[in-house]
Amino acid sequence: MTRTILHIDMDAFFVSVEETLDPSLCGKPVVVGGDPNGRGVVAAASYAARRFGIHSAMPVAAARRLCPDAIFLRGSHRRYSEMSEQIFRIMEQYSPSVEPMSLDEAYLDLTGCELLHGPTLNTAERIRDKIKDTVGINASIGIASNKLIAKIASGYAKPSGMLWIPEGKERRFLAPLPIGSLPGVGPKGGKQLQRMGIRTVNDLTNLPRQLLEDAFQKWGTALYLKARGVCHSEVEGRSDARSISRETTFEEDTLDLEFLESALSYLVEKASAQLREDAWGARCISLKLRYSDFQTVTRSQTLDEATNEDYVIYQTTANLLRCQLNQRRTRIRLIGVALTRLGMPGPVQADLFAALDPRQWDQLYQGIDRIRDKYGFHSILRGRTAIQRDLQIKAKTRDSEK
């Protein structure tokens, strides 16, 4: 049966939220993210700001150089998630299967809803208008027979557009696109493909599956399928998040244990903060590593009790990391942490010989979460995470000295 999947993506979400709260910002170059005088990165930039070459994930300082007159805002995660919640509630009026991918994007499965809502294009238009009327934010929508194409289409339709790729036309749509537009092909992977002479998705489809798999293992298989517009992933309802994961690809492959642990610590802090926000605990903790030859390994450990404490999760993953490094010493390209077997942290058995009252840990994490709510995630970090930031700064100063 042909599926009808929508990918709905807010345009410059953080900035748009700020604009609805302060309409005087409209049309001006606005940048959200970090302390403008510090070393944060751009979380979102308004379309006016983008004209100056500012884009998300660039250092705020660089953005400032590009456009000194831009308005820099710190942003508030709480405001954004409230707004996001309203948007998801609108989407849920149209379909029971809404899968949020982040605060500002979601997949919606409208398969078989024509009888209920009328033609899909009209429904999509109604959803977009309703979001605009209710929260005042522009959304772009991609419509296709699977999640992959819907996502690429919504990116293509930005800003405030809509694009429908009918079934059977997927390959024609993808063929001329640069390979970077495929989800999962980042700057590094893109560069590697370019070295092989592949620039467009069409180039990619000309490669035999075997060659891609030999070169990139699983990622190769994924590329082969993606280039053909094939994606069987279902739209998963949002009530039961099955896992929380965070991963990062390094700018340079590394074997530096201190750096790896620090990166891991950061990812753990991110993931467990999310876990606490959702009031979950995780019982299964996994470490994911991708080596420079693209071999990917996952190592997991199941705990006796569900936890959402940074310290416990970090120690578990760090042990897994050390074990894995002892087994294979090859430079690492990507590191990630995944928390699964989520459940409500049940009643916790107190310990007879514990040096510290366990409630003090709860209070500590509640305190950390409150500080982050108010001053941003980076306002308070574990010592080990902070090492990475120091290392990065050192690396940068070294670069600039050169």
Binding site: G346, P347, V348, Q349, A350, D351, L352, F353, P358, R359
Partner: protein, 369 residues
Amino acid sequence: MEVRIERSVFFNSVQRVQGVVETKGAMPILSHVLISAETGQIQVQSTNLEIGILGNYPANVETPGAVCLNAKKLFDILRELPDQEVHLKTEENHWATLKCGKSKFRLPGLAPEEFPPLPEYDQEALIEFTGKLLKEMINKTQFAVSPDETRQALNSLLLEENNGQACMVGTDGHRLAMVKRTLGEPKDGEGEAQSFLLPRKAITELLKLMEDEDISFKFSVRGNHLAFIHGNHVIVARKIDGKFPNFRQVIPKENDLQVHFKKDDLIHALKRVALLADEKSRMVRFEVSEGTLALVSDNSEMGTANEEISANYSGDEIRIGLNAKYVLDVLSAMENEEVTFNLKDSQHSCLITDPKDGDFLSIVMPMRL
């Protein structure tokens, strides 16, 4: 080697050493029992290199000698044999023939010289228990011992002896049980306290040997090994590396809120309410108010359960979450009809005592609600 032995005696001897036989280890010899015969008796032993057990039994020995046979197979064969005399004879290459009635078995064996010898142990007793007393002390503490073999100290019972007073303590870090008993007349001048960690596995084997409560248990130490000598049986266990936690420090002294129950009332009600407790945490909420205790289980997807029993208590209301299994373990180790819970608040430990036995106590840590 050639021996004739009663089937029931032989069966018993092999059964008693089964507990430490390794069935799938890297060393095949450890899946075997060593049977050695000398005048008038056979000796059966097994070991897993941590713990070794041996027993001596009367037998009609025609030719002395020794053989190692697969413990599991020998046990299975002896179990099925009729109650008649068993004839065991070794052949070349460590094969053995076992005959009983009209049955005949030929079994491949291993060289007895390959069997790891039991470490030397001291016949001289450091501490001597009556079987009955030792059994009681073990029963009152063993349930609290941690099953986790990686935490060696908690995987053992602590035995302390000082001037004729013995104290045994078990804990898994969430609960603790302690019992003190007098062994005999205090010996003047020998007041030096000694303490030992008895591995859980050795305790289990010890209880299996304990058939006759009147025969005493001698406990001795030599070098790195502990030994228990009980009649014709000996268990030798390697000493545990590790430090038992400072248990005296966690025995609460300010738990002034005393609640008295009829033990059986509490056991029955708790068993019922615990049926709907969360399967993992086994938590039941104890809500104590004047004259009553309400047991509540309402945090699982299974449904809810509650039951009230009468309690002798006058004071402020207290609610505390406890693991039902932990509480039931303590209750079933107690002999008295009455039991006392000594509480402070929902965050502090629950001290369970026997009003008639001041030398037994158990501590259960609460669960955070």
